[in-house]
């Protein structure tokens, strides 16, 4: 409070005030407007990293489907005369200890990994939104009971679920998906629950109530669409983590079994020989890395694109 004694500036003569010309600010024109989807597409295409990752993913998905067109070899056919062939000739990626073509095995592995990742993520999202939405919206006793159930499920180690399900259903891709979803949806449900609890006290929810809107209309029209951002982020993190879990479990022999191809199985197969024949490790491990990186970058781009507060440059 040093400037208490500062001299007061003399007031201007009030007769010199001239009122501003009347302007209607409400009528002012604004920049052109776009719908959410169009805006999101525009933002995504402007993001070069995300677009690059998206193109890599698209190519990967296409190749995983059409790879047989490019090679005469089958992913499980053995040729004991051609073991550990270096990349070249008709074996683009070389062969392994049983003379199996690594090119077709790598792409078959991509097929399995992507299927596991995407199906697990979709199942997580559906279960997570429904159960998390109910927990968050109804709260109280419903929330308490469901929360206890999810906590109990979460406390079961998922390796145990994988092994037990493998015993009951037989080991393979679908057992893996079920095992991953059995524990994965809980995370999604908790995220949706937290979001909805936060959003349901917003005034626009009260406004919808005041208009006479029913509970389910509020839940599905107001609350869930507003949680899409975190849902997309979580989902794009679920896909690479499911892919990694598939590779890791197959590597340990708990997932996809040889002779079926999977990146994890191939890395395991290469363990004895990779120091002499590095391509047996390089191709499956490299593709696993590229797929995970691409999913992560693309997920980040999607999140930014759906955020209404970011702008198109």
């Amino acid at each position: 409070m040093d400037n208490v004694n500062e001299k007061r500036r003399p007031l201007p003569d009030p007769r010199k005030f001239v009122p501003l010309k009347k302007r209607d600010f409400a009528q002012q024109q604004m920049a052109p407007s776009y719908t959410t989807w169009k805006l999101a597409t525009m933002k995504l295409t402007a993001n070069k990293f995300a677009m690059g990752a998206g193109i890599v993913l698209a190519l990967m998905i296409i190749m995983a489907v059409i790879y047989p067109l490019f090679t005469p070899h089958n992913f499980r056919g053995q040729s004991l005369l051609n073991t550990f062939t270096a990349p070249g000739g008709s074996y683009y990626f070389g062969t392994d200890d049983l003379g199996r073509d690594l090119f077709s095995r790598s792409w078959k592995g991509a097929q399995i990994s992507l299927t596991v990742g995407i199906l697990a993520a979709i199942a997580d999202v559906i279960l997570g939104i429904i159960i998390g939405g109910i927990m968050g919206f109804f709260g109280g006793k419903v929330d308490e009971v469901l929360n206890k159930i999810t906590e109990i499920l979460y406390s079961i180690p998922y390796l145990l679920i994988v092994i037990l399900l493998g015993v009951v259903l037989g080991q393979g891709m679908f057992t893996l998906i079920i095992a991953l979803v059995a524990t994965g949806w809980i995370n999604m449900a908790w995220i949706v629950r937290g979001q909805i609890m936060q959003l349901k006290n917003q005034e626009y929810v009260l406004a919808a109530q005041a208009m006479g809107s029913g509970g389910f209309r509020i839940l599905f029209k107001h609350l869930i669409p507003n949680t899409m951002g975190p849902i997309i982020v979580t989902m794009t993190l679920t896909v690479p983590s499911a892919i990694f879990a598939e590779a890791f479990l197959s590597f340990l022999g708990l997932g996809v079994q040889s002779p079926a191809a999977s990146w994890g199985v191939m890395i395991n197969d290469s363990l004895a020989s990779w120091q002499l024949y590095p391509w047996t490790l390089l191709f499956p491990a490299g593709m696993l890395c590229v797929a995970m990186l691409a999913f992560n970058i693309f997920g980040d781009g999607l999140r930014d694109a759906f955020d209404p507060k970011t702008r198109v440059e």
Binding site: M30, S33, Q202, Y204, A207, A210, M211, G212, P308
Partner: protein, 323 residues
């Protein structure tokens, strides 16, 4: 109070308690009674936490009351079910405090304003819907071409206009305005208040206007109710209340209004209240205001003052032993 024959809304001994755990209750609204005539504006003032917003929301039946009644055109709001409740929702609408939180950020203005029309099935086609929204935008002074935009593209005042347009969509008769201007700049406040006043005339609306800005409330209200700790402490015609405040709390509130004249302001006597607002979880015994009242006596701690008629004007009521 409850014998005014042309009352549109009659709130009778309304209470809303919230359970805050450990067996404690928060008495947000405690035995509130008031009535609102058709076409008038009743201002409700009080400091933060006095229960005025809870009262508004309970009257809107966004909260179920703990006890008490609210008669809207003779019909108890809390007895309504199903189709009758839905019809009531068309009669009474609400304008919210925070224009940033009261509009869904992912919806276009058209969808926001048309939401009540959709809920009540008032438009048959998308073309009709668009026309209705354009008409409402025009009514609140916004450009009809704004209907494809999102709330974040608007200023606070424009958003509040969108909120008002949404409330008007179903042609309500009664509007609860829950601090509609407190989140706005002072220059915008006047615009929004003028808009509300114009709409009151053209749409023949009745307002329950909740606010904490006394000067603005005096400008818009016919009568003013002052709340303290969930209770009504004084209610009177607004000129009467300003000229002759009877309750010590009202007197303190009015003395805090700045006067736009430095000479008056320099000599004006301000009543400064001691202490903070007591917790509504454990309110003081007797008169809720006694802990901060300059004139409190032993009687105030022992006896709860009833709302009684004071002064010359019949419509002037206060809840103080010494008013």
């Amino acid at each position: 109070m409850a014998n005014q024959s042309n009352a549109m809304l009659e709130v009778d001994n309304l209470s809303k308690f919230f359970d805050v755990g450990k067996g404690k209750t928060l008495k947000a609204v405690n035995g509130l009674s008031l009535s609102i005539r058709k076409g008038e504006t009743l201002g409700v003032v009080g400091e933060s936490g006095c229960g005025k917003s809870t009262a508004g929301r309970t009257i809107m039946r966004l909260y179920e009351p703990t006890s008490g009644k609210a008669l809207y055109n003779g019909q108890n709001i809390y007895d309504l079910k199903g189709a009758n409740l839905k019809a009531f929702r068309r009669e009474m609408q609400m304008v919210f405090q925070d224009p940033y939180a009261s509009l869904n950020p992912r919806w276009t203005v058209e969808n926001i304003i048309a939401e009540p029309l959709d809920i009540h099935g008032l438009v048959a086609s998308s073309k009709e819907r668009k026309v209705a929204v354009e008409r409402l935008l025009d009514k609140v002074g916004l450009n009809p071409s704004h209907l494809t935009r999102y709330p974040h593209e608007f200023s606070g005042g424009q958003r509040q206009r969108i909120g008002i347009a949404r409330a008007l969509a179903v042609n309500p008769k009664f509007i609860v305005a829950d601090e509609p201007i407190s989140a706005l700049d002072v220059s915008i406040q006047a615009q929004v208040v003028n808009l509300l006043q114009n709409l009151q005339r053209t749409e023949s609306l009745t307002y329950l206007f909740i606010a904490h800005d006394l000067a603005m409330v005096k400008h818009i209200s016919d009568r003013i109710a002052v709340m303290y700790l969930g209770k009504l402490v004084e209610i009177a015609d607004s000129d009467d209340l300003y000229a002759d405040p009877r309750h010590p709390y009202t007197q303190a509130l009015l003395s805090s209004i700045p006067v736009p004249d430095p000479d008056v302001e320099a000599t004006k006597e301000r009543i400064v209240l001691r202490g903070d607002l007591p917790s509504p979880i454990s309110p003081p015994s007797g008169c809720p205001f006694r802990t901060r009242c300059p004139a409190a006596t032993e009687r105030c701690a022992a006896e709860v003052p009833e709302l009684r008629q004071v002064g010359a004007n019949k419509a002037h009521w206060a809840a103080c032993h010494y008013a």
